[in-house]
Amino acid sequence: MTGRRTTPSPGELWAPFVDGLPVDGASITVITRTGLSSTVSTSDEVAARLDGLQLELGEGPRWQAFRTGVPVLVPDALQPGAHDAWPLFGVRLPPLGVGAVFAIPLVLGVLVVGIADLWSPAATGPWSETQLAEALGIAAAAAGPSVELATRSASSPRPVSPSTSAELRREVHQATGMLVVQLDVRPPEALLRLEAHAFATGRPVLDVARDVIARRLDLSAQE
């Protein structure tokens, strides 16, 4: 917000969470008031998968934390009742080797601008007050740089860093555009059809999107 500084790299954003807290990985997603999201930083494949799942399913601790502005801490994801708020997402955790998940709001001033999704392979004990304070502090420091990174990468014609999932989601929107033509529908319905096909075939939305773009998949043929 003030002063000039270099745009942060994705690694600089997730590292403080993994270094300072009992977690193995983190992803950082910026979310606008209308629910548009951009994932600016992921530390590993599992974090990327957890990010993708919450996006595709539309449920998960991230959305709960974004709505309420309050951290969602699930130190034991296998405990009965742990998934009540997000059952579809919950069943995907054990196969991924995830034992605990935490969603920490990124607060800029008084606005919640995104969420840091943290994961751990085994159940951790409940967090101490010190750990929670630490998490909130790291999140507060990451909020401004995350928004800046998301804004800059969205504004640039070429993906800033091809390996970040933020850029890869461009393919979902490109595929949506193609479906607008193939199915003769407006973008919201085109996206829904893309997601429905992914859900029905058990594949990630991104994979289906790539098939559409490569003209390997024509959904109008499935009418």
């Binding site: 951009s38 401004g144 928004v147 998301a150 969205a154 490109q174 555009g177 773009i213």
Partner: protein, 252 residues
């Protein structure tokens, strides 16, 4: 209640009456902060209230601008003399010292300043003022201005009065900083929203074009960009038209 060692103090105002006035003052200040408040109106209320409650003769409120220079934002009178006096104090005077240090500066007798702030002291005495008290507008390490009270009598404000002035000033300071924070974060959030929604539109437009023309995604982008340049239209607008199916960028 009166302390014979203090130059002058409230002696005639009953404690309950003062409490009532103080309570009403806090309510009035808090009221301006909860609705869409007007900054100048708020600061005018603050300096008028303090002047009235502390029974001083006049005052002026200085707020730092974006460059860190103190600007007079509100004063108890528009009288040019008073205005100029406070402005002098903003350059070199108790007002400026208060701002620079973040602590209150009190001058019980302007005839006894050890030669500090000669222009301010000379001008203040010439206008009939004899004492001044400057209160910082401060939250933790941030000082955003000063609230300055002047009196025609030599006078040291009582500890309770100093505390009242500081408390009222603190309410105003917190409200101002909160509003600024909200404004700044809203701007940043809006920029993000704009960037993300434009990006979504542009990517969708690439897909639409790719499906209708059989061009690759990259070539579709080039076609979009070429059209935008040729027609001097923002890329986002072109993208919106393509996705809407109302714009054909391949038409000659």
């Amino acid at each position: 209640m009166t302390d014979m060692n203090e130059p002058d103090q409230h002696s005639g105002i009953a404690a309950e009456d003062r409490e009532g006035r103080l309570g009403r003052a806090f309510v009035a200040l808090a009221d301006t902060l909860t609705s869409d408040y007007d900054l100048v109106e708020l600061l005018q209320l603050l300096v008028d209230t303090c002047t009235d409650l502390l029974d001083t003769a006049g005052g002026g409120l200085l707020l730092a601008d974006a460059q860190g220079r103190l600007q007079l934002v509100a004063s108890t009178s528009e009288q040019a003399d008073l205005v100029e006096l406070v402005q002098i104090g903003a350059q070199n005077g108790p007002c400026f010292d208060c701002f620079a240090s973040g602590t209150a500066v009190t001058v019980p007798d302007l005839r006894d300043t050890d030669g500090r702030w000669s222009s301010f002291t000379r001008e203040a005495l010439a206008q009939g003022f004899a004492s001044v008290h400057a209160t910082p507008m401060r939250l933790r390490n941030q000082v955003i201005g000063t609230m300055n009270l002047l009196d025609v009598k030599p006078r040291a404000l009582a500890g309770a009065d100093i505390a009242v002035a500081q408390a009222l000033t603190d309410v105003a300071t917190i409200g101002i900083l909160q509003a600024r924070l909200l404004r700044e974060s809203t701007i940043v959030a809006e920029q993000l929203h704009s960037a993300l929604s434009s990006r979504v539109l542009i990517e969708q437009a690439k897909g639409v074009l790719s499906a209708t023309t059989r061009l690759s995604i990259d070539d579709s982008f080039r076609a979009l960009r070429a059209y935008a340049r040729r027609t001097n239209t923002p890329l986002r607008t072109v993208a919106a038209g393509v996705v809407d199916r109302t714009l054909d960028v391949t038409a000659r």
